[in-house]
């Protein structure tokens, strides 16, 4: 029953597809592919500055990525990923096109991020692209590819947020939301801002959090609860609400710790609301207006 309900909420293969859904999906796919191409070039050009591996991650644990440094290979990798992503988008290539692009995209990422810390800012884009890759290999019909890709994305996005909440419980325990922890992280990030811009001054929310430990505690508590309920986005009924709360949490992280999640937030805005219904509404309006126009011309 639970699995049936979950599958129904994630994939909903029974429901007829509207024009709005088809158009929205293609626009959403273009957004993801656009980001994949942007990131692959951004990382590829940055690799020129890297000449040492501090902490290898992912496939870089098994294959030393040093051969990518001081060469044009990252650029060629970006060219290949771009060609494959565009070919996959226009469905003019074999089913494994997105999978090959995903593998090369992973390699570009682990080559770029070998310097000690792996950021998570592109994870949602990466997971969604992985979902596209799997959908294209496992399904033939476009409707099924679309429904599976979106369901896969909601499943792993929700799981990721809830997993982050559990990581905090495992890492620190129930005292994680102690406001003094936020003080430490805000101070840490203030050094990053000084390093990036040469200067730092606390904003209104940071000042409040530094002045009142209970405010800092409430900020952390709200963030943790929001992460914990991430899996609720698996269910259509709660999707918009949960994603709105998560967007709010990301804005809160930006305001307190100066960490921006542009790609995450942009994608969450697309994921959280029924843009397909808006497109359907727009199409219906356009058609009715065209009908009124033709009707009035006929009897004018």
């Amino acid at each position: 029953m639970f699995l049936q309900n979950l599958a129904q909420n994630l994939f909903d293969y029974d429901k007829p597809e509207t024009e709005g859904e088809v158009i929205f999906y293609k626009l959403f796919e273009a957004f993801i592919i656009g980001y994949v191409i942007h990131l692959t070039w951004y990382w590829g050009l940055y690799i020129e500055r890297i000449s040492e591996v501090v902490l290898p991650l992912g496939l870089a644990v098994y294959i030393d990525p040093s051969f990518m440094f001081d060469s044009s290979l990252p650029i060629w990798n970006a060219v290949i990923i771009t060609v494959l992503a565009v070919a996959g988008f226009f469905r003019i290539s074999p089913k494994i096109t997105y999978s090959v692009a995903m593998l090369l995209f992973h390699w570009q990422h682990v080559t770029r991020f070998t310097l000690g810390e792996i950021p998570h800012s592109a994870n949602l884009i990466g997971m969604t692209f992985l979902g596209f890759a799997i959908a294209h290999v496992c399904f033939n019909e476009q409707l099924r590819i679309r429904r599976f890709s979106l369901g896969f994305m909601y499943f792993f996005a929700g799981l990721g947020y809830t997993s982050a909440a559990f990581s905090k419980l495992i890492g620190t325990g129930i005292t994680w939301a102690d406001g003094r922890h936020l003080w430490m992280w805000m101070s840490e990030k203030s050094v990053d801002i000084i390093s990036r811009t040469g200067d730092w001054a606390p904003n209104f929310l940071q000042t409040l959090a530094f002045d009142f430990v209970w405010i800092a505690t409430i900020i952390l508590l709200i963030g943790w609860i929001t992460e914990l309920i991430g899996v609720a986005m698996w269910y259509k009924k709660y999707r918009s609400l949960v994603i709105t709360l998560i967007i709010g949490m990301h804005i809160g992280i930006t305001m307190t710790m100066n960490i921006r999640f542009d790609a995450f937030v942009a994608q969450l805005i697309l994921m959280g609301y029924r843009w397909d219904k808006l497109i359907d509404y727009g199409l219906a309006r356009a058609r009715s207006m065209n009908f009124v126009y033709r009707f009035s011309k006929r009897f004018a």
Binding site: A7, L10, F11, Y13, R49, S51, E52, V54, L55, L57, G58, V61, H106, H109, F113, L115, G116, E117, I118, P119, H120, A122, N123, L124, G126, M127, L130, I134, C138, R144, F148, G151, F155, F156, G160, Y161, S163, A164, S167, K168, I170, G171, T172, W176, D178, R180, H181, W183, M184, W185, S187, V191, D192, I194, S195, R196, T197, G198, D199, V213
Partner: protein, 158 residues
């Protein structure tokens, strides 16, 4: 038909989930884009970050001392304006355990010779701790100096 499709989809999700779990469990929680999202999971831990100052106009006695974040020597060098990712830079400085000639040269490569031609770049480690009275202390330690003449490690502080 849709029942079979749903079952197939759940099977794919389950297999992906198992591979996900296996990969993150055996790769320090990260196999991009798979992750357990461990950021900020440990509260109150002391931290180390890094920053850079231009000390071309400064006397070495003034910039070779441990100081506080409010009394930094020289002029600020905004790394963002030079296209350098500060997270990369901080992690490179704080997580490198042995400063071999290659590691120093790698940091120099990150800055680029054009930047070093214009500035004497003093890399400083910033160490943050919270005291029992809840005061946060940020101690800044001069670490490596990059000048057109070479790379000079100023302290044995790791």
């Amino acid at each position: 038909m849709s029942q079979i499709l749903r079952l197939k989809s759940l099977k794919i999700i389950l297999i992906t989930f198992l591979i996900y779990g296996g990969l993150v469990a055996t790769h320090e929680g990260e196999f991009w884009p798979l992750s357990i999202y461990p950021m900020f999971s440990q509260g109150a831990n002391p931290w180390t970050r890094a920053l850079v100052r231009d000390v071309r106009q400064e006397d070495i006695d003034k910039f070779s001392q441990v100081t506080s974040i409010r009394e930094l020597p020289g002029e600020p060098v905004p790394l963002g304006a030079h296209g350098i990712d500060t997270i990369d830079f901080s992690n490179f400085v704080s997580k490198t355990e042995e400063w071999t000639a290659e590691r120093k040269q790698a940091l120099r490569t990150m800055f680029g010779e054009d930047m070093i031609a214009e500035h004497d770049l003093l890399v400083m480690k910033a160490n943050g701790i919270i005291q029992p009275d809840n005061e946060i202390i940020i101690e800044v330690v001069p670490f490596i100096l990059f000048t057109p003449e070479g790379n000079f490690k100023l302290t044995d502080h790791q």
